[in-house]
Symmetry: C2
Subunit: 761 residues, 2 copies
Amino acid sequence: MDFSSFVTSLGTSLIIFVVLMLVFTWLNRKPGNAVIYYPNRILRGLDPLEGRTMTRNPLTWIKEAVKASEADVIAVAGVDAAVYLVFLSSGMASTPVVLKVFTVRLKVASFWLIWRVSLIDTFVDAVLAILVFSGIILLPVLLPVAATDNGTQSTIDSNSQGTFKNLDKLTMGHVQEGSLRLWAFLLGVYWVSFVTYYVLWKSYTHVSDLRAGAKTSAVVKPEEFAVLVRDIPAAPPGQSMKDHVDSYFRALHPETFYKSMVVTDNKKANKIWEEKEGYGKKLARAEVVYAESKTTGKPEGTRPTNRTGFLGLVGPKVDTIDHCNEKIQELLPQLEAEQKITLKEKQQGAALVFFSSKPAAVSASQTIHAQKIDTWTMMEAPEPQQVLWTNLSKKFYEREIRSLTVYGIVFLTVCFYMIPIAFVSAFTTMENLKKYLPFLKKIVDQPEIKTVLEAYLPQIALLVFMALLPTFLMFLSKEEGIPSESHAVRAASGKYFYFIVFNVFLGVTIGGTLYGSLKEIIKKPSQIITLLGSSLPKSATFFLTYVALKFFVGYGLELSRLVPLIIFHLKKKFLCKTEAEVKEAWAPSDFGYATRFPNDMLIVTIVLCYSVIAPIIIPFGVVYFGLGWLVARNQALKVYVPRYESSGRMWPHMHARIVAALIVYQITMLGYIGILRKFYYAPFLIPVIAISFIFAYVCKQRFYLAFFHTPLEVACQGTKEIPNMESIYAAYIPPCLSTEKLQDADQFEDAHSHSLRTTSL
Amino acid sequence: MDFSSFVTSLGTSLIIFVVLMLVFTWLNRKPGNAVIYYPNRILRGLDPLEGRTMTRNPLTWIKEAVKASEADVIAVAGVDAAVYLVFLSSGMASTPVVLKVFTVRLKVASFWLIWRVSLIDTFVDAVLAILVFSGIILLPVLLPVAATDNGTQSTIDSNSQGTFKNLDKLTMGHVQEGSLRLWAFLLGVYWVSFVTYYVLWKSYTHVSDLRAGAKTSAVVKPEEFAVLVRDIPAAPPGQSMKDHVDSYFRALHPETFYKSMVVTDNKKANKIWEEKEGYGKKLARAEVVYAESKTTGKPEGTRPTNRTGFLGLVGPKVDTIDHCNEKIQELLPQLEAEQKITLKEKQQGAALVFFSSKPAAVSASQTIHAQKIDTWTMMEAPEPQQVLWTNLSKKFYEREIRSLTVYGIVFLTVCFYMIPIAFVSAFTTMENLKKYLPFLKKIVDQPEIKTVLEAYLPQIALLVFMALLPTFLMFLSKEEGIPSESHAVRAASGKYFYFIVFNVFLGVTIGGTLYGSLKEIIKKPSQIITLLGSSLPKSATFFLTYVALKFFVGYGLELSRLVPLIIFHLKKKFLCKTEAEVKEAWAPSDFGYATRFPNDMLIVTIVLCYSVIAPIIIPFGVVYFGLGWLVARNQALKVYVPRYESSGRMWPHMHARIVAALIVYQITMLGYIGILRKFYYAPFLIPVIAISFIFAYVCKQRFYLAFFHTPLEVACQGTKEIPNMESIYAAYIPPCLSTEKLQDADQFEDAHSHSLRTTSL
């Protein structure tokens, strides 16, 4: 790709972004759209436009995003969102410093340009003069580099000349092979690495404190008093699972055990409940239609009717309101009967056990209970709203086997997806397009279209591919037997990360030669270094455009929320009748960490890997994360509603993946500098790789377990008052098993216990 | 090695064993030797010869060893000894079944011999007759093998003929390449593997129960109420470490915290205490000498004297009794002063924390306390007598670095030791001996000497090498920063196992070509399979002799206890004066698991690896473990005194290493059958290797953690009565810090606390 198509790409991206920003500013102010742009505020009962002047300034949102403190973000969007912002800003924090390195390097380059001229001219006085002049200006910048640059004076750089029209001139590929100047690049790798270590360490400490803060907050959270117990062995004959669990925990925790709730197989009860809920919605809708018909048509109104058969198209015609009422009356006793059966007879080998104090629950969740470790496995209970009920009763080895199977499928998916991407990569060069689709030749040869196609085609193809995957990966993760939603999101995000790094980053970089290369790599794994090193520089401009497209178009779309806006207005106009339906139409989603985070990680990987090879990518990275940080803050404060709170449990995964990207980068640079640029001192990069591993190890030792378990220190802080245990218990009752008359809790005598001990705190 | 030298080797071994047995029977009955042969019984206050008729039957001890129940062994020698016996008998249990396979295989061979004759003769009627006859006799035995043997009728075995003079005729190397008969051997591998799985699973369950039984016993053990806390961060200014620890645990465990004991730097106090004890012993000895001189010489006696200088050789002459009394009087106040200073000013960053109930201690030891995981690390306290005090205060990362360094040194040791062993291996062939030491030619050429030399030289060289190592490895293990003696023994035993497998097993097998081969292996790791496969059969007879030597001479020496007996009698005659000194002279040691177990594992590895290649090794293995079991029971019941009790904590290590040996065996067989015997179906062995890994994984998941932590279930069983906490606490006071007036515990106010809460069980 030449420079003009790169500029075209950047330009069009920028134009799209500006247009989207203007659209946002315009739509944003219309009161009818407030539910789209401020749903979070509305749900919290705030005036969406409170304290805002109706300014036309398209940058007001930026001011607001910057103004908000971290505490505000946590209050509104939870610790998870705050941790995500830490991730974005840690990306930012490291890139500016990298940027500084880049400017230093540019100055070094100009110094060497002058130096070379002086050598060609061989005028000693000129050399002296130049040295004195450049010395006065550049010494403070160069001292760190100069210290390692002894004896390089005879090296002649023949590459620094020429115009900068071709982007490749700005890359490291332009430095002569074996030149001692490569020291500067090598030290650049060190510099980037140490900056990364520093920033990551600070971030981990910060997130760790955030998490501890969230865990010690005065708000009573049900999950802090509950422990999830799985792999419960079969109850002794003549004893129900419930009694079995109760007697076991009462014996082991006589002082602190409160109650247990045995997990039941709710499939059938749930089905009846959903049917009942469906008729409830239908009824509400029919009533609104009936009421409307009274005002618009005849004063007595038209009672809505429907057919009872398939999709309401066949079968006898009935009055909707009467029909729904009948059905609900019919289903209610059914549901109650099924609830009783479920609670009594469908008890499974898993339970939630409630303790009368936080430290007791924390301690119990970390203590091995049974002598056979694969029975009575304990873990901290997930939040009620994110429990994946059907997974709880899956057995230990079943989970292991499922996990293995899922990873097998993911492995195959990763390999299988490589084919279309490699194909797109090879296909979307102009020459191939003309060759294989000759009828396009006329269109393609027009210069404007050609430039646009060249700039965007591969990137768009890539983006489309990526959109199909997340749902599938989320499904797979849930199939593993993971007990909570947030854990499943983490698992899906991990898989997506592997996918994206292998397919997008490696796939595009190594490109068409991937399959041929794979064989080589399997034969000789060290080959991968050479291969990556040699392929990276070629793909630099592709990734530059990719990053630009991502942030301009991606963030533009996210900020303007055009898609949800259009869908909402369409739904409101044609589908929604009741208030509840309208609310459902604009109900905001959550952040969607499962895809958002791996995509960001891809950019981190790309920017890191190119930071020294083609430093021009760094400002793009800075803009990506800076803009991302602003947009994410805006959305966190105004739009998205968190579905769950895992108190920053995601961070260790982010951390590990950034370190992994760093190590990939270091190995790539080792290959690139050593093998491709034939730099004799490249092995000096090996220590920094070792340091990365040590860094990862120390971080894991120091921080990780506190994300996995709650430390006792943390659990003992916060309020000491005894909470309302019954409400904590009720929070975990699934909707299909709850009755309107909740105070009459006798119903739960079967699978849910009554241990009316007073707590002995 | 030909057959005659093998028989010579066996014969001499057997003669030595019989002689040692007779010596044992003879010495055993002399009352003066009871302290050597029954020290364990004497220490328990039993009559050593109680219930024994003074029979001359040299096999009485066997009857007694067999008669004792496992409960007896546990009562006398602890769970660790019982677990070791389980290990020995699991080795035995698997070998007899293997033996059965071997006999089946011999019968198969004879069947094929007949079959071949019938083919050569090509008389159809003869074939029929032979088939009918052999069928009637052999069918019940052959059916399982025959089912897999279809289509092998044309194979001609030309190897089964000839005399069995040469041992190699009995090995699998004698089967034709690619013969379908190799199926029998292949299935033999499967059979051995499944027998191993079955036996190991049973054993693990059994040991797990033994451990739980030991943990729930009614005897109050101090370590069950204590938790070891390490990596305590610096105390806040103005607070002593003791107050820091107390306030931390009182806040987190308000109900169950009893007291804490901060670890102090006892180096100086210990030195003074040891000096004092030394003078005490000297004094006792001098008094006995003085008393003796009264009876033998002049009635007023001769007061013993000594010189105060170097080794009692220089310096002024003093009266020993007066001198010692003076010194002791001098040291006592010094010791008391130093104790005070130590407790007050030498507090370190580690502590023992005592809880008022077992479950509380167990729960606390498994719960993460601090948010920074590398501080306040908790673990179950070791027994008082096996605490390695100086290691307790070593910091987290210091321990990691020490561990890494030690493993580096062990790696170097393993590599360095290879050189002499490879040298011995190459040197001790007769030809080389004659070549390099021509002056020996005359002696060596005499047939008797030649046979003996050929049979024993390499084995003796090996045994001598092995004797030098354990102390060094134990020292290294303690340097790692391990907190308890039993853990250090496990660590040393692990190192010794690596050493022994690499050096003895691989070293001897691959022998002189080892260094050349290493290069090959590094280049292409799969090479190891070929190499092992091709080298194994050659070393079969070497290992046969090695095993025989081990059990005949090794067990003979152990049972007869000749070395301790001689040392004891020498000491008693020339050195010991006081009763305490005599007791010290015969004080029995413990089992010495650190070297005993890896040596047994070497035999397991050898027997497993040769079980199919040269099945004749199996009876040797059976005798080794059978005899070992008998001797170990005898020693456990009568001789050794356990120094500590880790409740079978060693088992997971034994288990893992047996599985590792099994996997080595399976891989070796894959290489041997597949590459060397060119058997087309050898890849059918790959599934069994996978099964081994799965087996190892499942065992670890199911059992391991219960050996690492105490399950709450186990801790809650047993006595519920509140023990005397003060005596539990006192058990951990190191001797150099204890005073005669223990009831006056005010002294421990500084580093050891008083929290006189009543326990709230």
